[in-house]
Each structure stands twice: as structure tokens, then as C-alpha cells.
Amino acid sequence: MAYTAEISRNNPSCFLFLIDQSGSMGDNFTGEVAKKKADGVADAINKLLQNLVIRCAKEEGVRDYFHVGVIGYGTNVGPGFGGSLVGKELAPISEIANSPARIEERTKKVDDGAGGLVDQKVKFPIWFEPTFSGGTPMCQALNNAKGVLQRWLGQHPNSFPPAVIHITDGESTDGDPSQAMSDLKALSSNDGGVLLFNLHISSNPNAQSTAFPDSSANLPDQYSKLLFEGASVLTPFMRNVAAEHNFSLSDGARCFVLNADLVLVIQALDIGTRPSNLR
């Protein structure tokens, strides 16, 4: 049965983030005046990397259950990590844990255990900085991701299949990306095909927020439809995680989110990256 491989230090899995850094990512999120899409996406990626590191942390250190990479595309296409990870396509999660570009201190409200809330200072490591400029070379980025994962799968043939989380607001400026998405999903380990998540932050005024649809009928334009068609079908485990976020999904639900606000981006990332079978 596919998507059941145990994720362990001897048999890690892989997450690859594919981030649109074109000029239009400097626009604000729909419905939010104060937050640029690029800033929100960078926050979400950093938060997710932090959660992944903490999930893999044990008393003796960080266990390498995952290899993680970020590819940015805009003026340039290439690895998107900052700090000492600059230029790395993929890094084991322990290396990511020990190499944030910097660590900010933020304040959050937490339950005090007696019915109240107290301020707590928490560390917020930064690996990925928001940038936005140039066009949207989506095909090149997808082909780049394919090369990275082909190499990784060659070394990890029995792994839980890698997941690619692709966040974009725009229209590809280097051709139709359909074939490149199909090629990416055609890569597989012995446990199943690569999973492709498309998170579309659309600028179309008719675009309604939509999460994990099973049909493209209500999508507003060809770009959304194209990203819907390119996205994988959610695995049963992912549907269970989605249910924890109060989504009730059909068997054909796709790994596709349209016009996500920041909360939905974070929820979608959790659904796409929650480990199912960690040892």
C-alpha cells in the first residue's frame, strides 16, 4: 500500500518548498492591508521549519527524519535558504536546526493553566527571508525541483515519498507548467509518487477562498484550474489531518488551496507536512 513507509533516521522523507518570489508577491494578501504576500509566506515557511525542527527534537538532539529544501523563483531560480545554508538544495533537519540565519525573540500569549493568559517570550528562528522581484519562471522552478528530487530519490528509494509545497500568486511567464508538474509527480519512491501541493494566492478579484476542492468547476480562471489539475490527490492520512482543521473532504480532494489567507496557508502546510508514521 502506498504512503505507509515508516519515516526514520535510516529512512528519512523529504519536503521541498517551491516559493514564487516574483514582483507581484510584494502586493498585500487579499483582505489584509498590512501584510505583503512575500512577508506572510516567509513567516509561514519559517514557522513551519521551526515546527518541523521541534517535532524532530529529542533530548539528545534533532533526529534526521527529514531532508528539507527551499527553491525560490523570481529574477533568479535557486536555493532559497539564508545564513550558512545559502546555496544548499536540501539539508538534513538537524543541520537546519543548527543553522538559522538569525533568531528573533517574539512574544505570544499562552495558557497559564489557571484559566488565564500570560505573555511568554519565544524564539523565532529565521531561515528564509522575503524577497520579490522579476517574472514568474514556474516551469524552470518545477524542472529544478524535479532534478533535486530525482537525485534525492536515487539515494532514498524506499522513503515515504517527498512532498513539494508550491506557493505562487501568479501566472507562469515561461510557458505552460502542466507538463513540468506531471513530470514532478511522476517521480516516485517504492512507497508512492511525489506529492505536489499548489497554494495559489490569486490576484483575481473573483477568486473565492477555496480549500482542497475535488473539482475545478468553481475556480475563477485558467491559472487556478491549471494549478488544481497539477496538484496531487490528498492521501487518506492527510484527509485525517485536514479533519482536525475542520475540513470535511471527499476522496478526490486535491492538494490545492486558492486565495489562502495566512491562516489557511499555515493550515495547508500542516496538512501537507504532518508526519504519518514517525519512528
Binding site: 515508516e6 526514520s8 535510516n10 521551526q50 525542527v53 521541534i54 517535532r55 527534537a57 529529542k58 533530548e59 538532539g61 534533532v62 536546526a97 543548527n98 533568531i103 495558557d111 497559564d112 493553566g113 511568554q120 519565544v122 524564539k123 528562528p125 514517525l278 519512528r279
Partner: protein, 251 residues
């Protein structure tokens, strides 16, 4: 009471022994005819937490020393929670370990105590208390008589309620604390198990098998423990998880 007890345990396949995060107490099986009572406990520290094995060990020891039971759970937990915090704060931690520790550790607990009846060593009473999905089954005349706190395979989920090492994690603990009492007689056997083994046990029983025979015969020349366990894991009959089996065999 006349009894023999022993414990069999194994870490997850592929992990080193020191990463075993179940716990049990007493550390070695005890037996005796001079005893009038016996307390044992098993616990299962949550894989996704850090310092969960430490927390699980603190809980089983506390139960067997009479510090932790269902009557004074909140107060006695506070002492253990402070002890856990002292342990994890004894040296500086990197940022991720600090964040992880902030979330606390989690563990099941299953405490089991038995004592002689009035004026007899061949029967008596027992009581048990549990939070989470570690289970005890009582076998009499080659058949299960009682199981606690769960009794079928479908009851095992990925997110049982667990005792947290942080006070704020234990909201709702009173409704999640289960207790049970019963009686024992000569010839009875009790098996305390953490979840992977207990789920296998109930599944086998539901399929008209007699898994108590395997548990009885384990660790003999005919049925060595590790090969038996490896086979169940390799054939996906048992989830790859830490396994603990505490056996009490009453003469």
C-alpha cells in the same frame, strides 16, 4: 501470596536500546511467598515529546512507592512535575530543545496492586488505575476474565489522553483517569502491556486466537522473546513501537 513476576521489554526496531521510552517498576521481576501485597506499574512515554522516558520512569516509581494514585493525582503529580522540570533544566539547551521542553513530556500510566485476602494466601483483591492506553488483562482457566482500561483493538487511537509533565497539559484529567477493582485466586495470571502489544493481544483474541498462550510461553527455549517480536513487526501484525510486558503468575 505465592507468585512469580518478570518483565520483557524491547525498544522500537532500528532504535538503540537507550531510546526505549516505555518504563516499568519494579525494575526486575519479583517473586515471593512472604509478601502480602504487590504493586507494579508500566508507562509509555510519547515519542513526539522529549524527556518522555524520564517522565514515564518517574510515574511508575511514584506509583509503586505509593506517592501516585487516583485519589491524590493532582497533588502528587505536582511534585513529580517539579522533579521533571528540575531534571530537564539542569543544563542549558539549544533553542529547539528549549521550545520542545516548553511543551512538556507525556506518558501513559498503568498502576496495578494486589493483596492477600483475609487469612488466606490463595485469593485476594486487586485494584488498578490508568491514564491512557496501557492495559492489564487477567487470565483465568485459559481465558481472559478482565481487561482494563481498554478491551478491544478498535479502542486504540493515535492520540490517547496522556499525563503531561506540565500542569496546564492535564486539563480534563479527572474524567480521563480510570480505576478498576477485582479479585484474584490461585492460578490467575496478569499481563500488563503497553499499547502496541495490547492492541495485538485484543486483535488476536477477536480473531478467535489465544494470545495469552504466547504471552505465557514467551522467553522460553521454544518461544524466545526477540525473534517472536521481530516476526510480528516484520509481518505487520504489530506496530513498530516500544514494547513492555509485565507478567504476574500466581501459584
Amino acid at each position: 501470596m505465592f507468585f512469580l513476576s518478570d518483565v520483557l521489554w524491547a525498544q522500537k526496531a532500528g532504535n538503540p536500546e537507550e531510546e526505549y521510552e516505555d518504563a516499568f517498576w519494579p525494575r526486575i521481576g519479583v517473586s515471593g511467598e512472604s509478601r502480602t501485597e504487590l504493586s507494579v506499574a508500566v508507562a509509555d512515554g510519547a515519542t513526539e515529546a522529549s524527556f518522555a522516558g524520564v517522565w514515564a520512569r518517574q510515574l511508575v516509581r511514584a506509583y509503586c512507592r505509593g506517592i501516585l494514585n487516583s485519589n491524590n493525582l493532582r497533588d502528587s503529580l505536582l511534585k513529580k512535575q517539579r522533579a521533571w522540570a528540575r531534571f530537564v533544566e539542569r543544563k542549558p539547551l539549544p533553542w529547539y530543545a528549549e521550545e520542545k521542553v516548553r511543551n512538556g513530556a507525556f506518558s501513559t500510566i498503568l498502576g496495578f496492586s494486589m493483596r492477600d485476602g483475609d487469612g488466606t494466601k490463595s485469593s485476594g483483591s486487586w485494584d488498578a488505575f490508568a491514564v491512557g492506553d496501557s492495559c492489564v488483562v487477567q487470565i483465568r482457566d485459559e481465558a481472559p476474565l478482565t481487561s482494563f482500561p481498554l478491551s478491544n483493538a478498535a479502542e486504540f487511537t493515535n492520540n490517547p489522553f496522556l499525563l503531561g509533565s506540565k500542569p496546564e497539559a492535564n486539563v480534563g484529567i479527572d474524567s480521563q483517569t480510570k480505576t478498576q477493582t477485582g479479585t484474584w485466586q490461585s492460578g490467575d495470571k496478569f499481563y500488563l502491556m503497553t499499547d502496541a502489544l495490547a492492541a495485538w493481544f485484543f486483535r488476536e483474541a477477536e480473531n478467535s486466537q489465544a494470545p495469552w498462550r504466547a504471552l505465557r510461553d514467551l522467553d522460553t527455549d521454544e518461544l524466545p522473546f526477540r525473534p517472536w517480536l521481530d516476526n510480528l513487526r516484520d509481518t505487520h501484525q504489530m506496530r513498530n513501537d516500544d514494547v513492555t510486558l509485565y507478567r504476574i503468575d500466581i501459584d
